[in-house]
Symmetry: C2
Subunit: 236 residues, 2 copies
């Protein structure tokens, strides 16, 4: 059975957290808005279709005749069904909890460049963005990364402390990847405070399961997305 | 077995979503920071304690020797264990998906008064707050509430379309309650567009299971919390 992943065609966005799990898990899927002849218009039309459980926003996954929305919820399903999460209830809840904390930081990273309105241009909220980005760099990056550092200090290699990665390791990798892209100066200053986080980032980057994806050309570059490279929002 | 709920002692905040599920489910719990002699200091000390699975932030629940953080994650556990969610996998994922969408709107409601920094005073970001609140009132309230209206239009009475409420009905009740408190003018203008949402709000408010809690004096008033009544942030 091939799953259908629906997300915007040209950005990594929140869809990337799902893609990484599907790719690393070797789970067959089609990315519907990126198929030949399709586009964001196909996604918008599909979002409007009548269905029992409509998603609020992309990404969503059509799997086993279910439509599953919300990134962390999709990953909860994939983790349990495809062995990308611990077997125990406690382990699965722990991985979900960490995923939700990553989701919180992702939202805050987005809001550094859109603190006033998602539907307005960045250029129309640059002043507010400068203030929000400063708070994010100085307070929020250390708060979140020191938390993940604390978690990793108590484990062997992976966040859930098993012998194998779980989907939340992939997500933390992508989060750190995004921070390195959007805030290179700030990360240059603070990365050495979080050696376990940075080691996890390197470990996931080297996962054999992900190399085909990384070398495929299918992994979309950051750009006009959650993680953006506005130099004026970065500082050491 | 009595669960331990840890949250700030004097605000409803995100803890209220957990409280409502515990109360409506008739699940015994102690609110640790609100016990005699305790306070937020007890919470802060407990947050710093060594544990295998530290929470990033309150609320968290200590249950069955697990420490569970992230509101939606706590509710996922309670829903499954105490019958506050559907039995089927699809139903449980759907309820979780809706809960995460509610959580997104809760974060956005908070950011109307703190768009720049959570650690700065509202008074120091009033200009930014005015812009963010306008976008929230005019774009985000309709977007979220019309989504829940669409979901409810396809069900009999409850979001998950069973004969009984699930925890996400309680959460939507509290979200609407917060919006009515913080944005009374705006809700006065738009509430009639969302008759099913408002009917659900009234239905939960009248749930026999919740009346003891509502009349107990234990339900904390809104105040310096997620939902705040700043008149300058509201408009029809």
């Amino acid at each position: 059975m091939t799953y259908d992943l629906w997300y915007w065609e040209s950005i990594p966005g929140r869809g990337e957290f799902v893609r990484l799990a599907l790719e690393a898990g070797g789970i067959p899927y089609r990315e519907r808005a990126r198929e030949p002849g399709a586009s964001d218009d196909a996604l918008i039309a599909d979002m409007r279709a009548e269905r029992a459980h409509p998603p609020f926003a992309p990404p969503y996954l059509v799997a086993d005749e279910m439509t599953l929305g919300q990134t962390a919820n999709i990953l909860l399903f994939l983790g349990e069904k495809h062995g990308l999460a611990p077997d125990s209830l406690e382990g699965r809840l722990w991985v979900n909890q960490l995923q939700l904390t990553i989701a919180d930081m992702v939202t805050e990273a987005h809001d550094t460049h859109h603190p006033v309105s998602s539907s307005d241009y960045y250029e129309d909220q640059k002043g507010e963005a400068a203030r929000r980005a400063r708070s994010f760099r100085e307070e929020r990056i250390p708060k979140f990364l020191s938390y993940f550092e604390r978690v990793l200090a108590g484990t062997s290699a992976w966040l859930a402390d098993g012998e194998r990665w779980t989907y939340v390791d992939l997500s933390l990798f992508h989060l750190v990847d995004g921070l390195l892209y959007a805030f290179p100066k700030r990360m240059g200053t603070v990365a050495s405070h979080y050696p376990n986080v940075m080691a996890l980032h390197a470990r996931v980057a080297a996962l054999p399961e992900l190399q085909p994806y990384f070398s495929s050309g299918r992994r979309l570059p950051f750009g006009e997305c959650i993680f953006r490279q506005y130099r004026e929002l970065d500082a050491p």
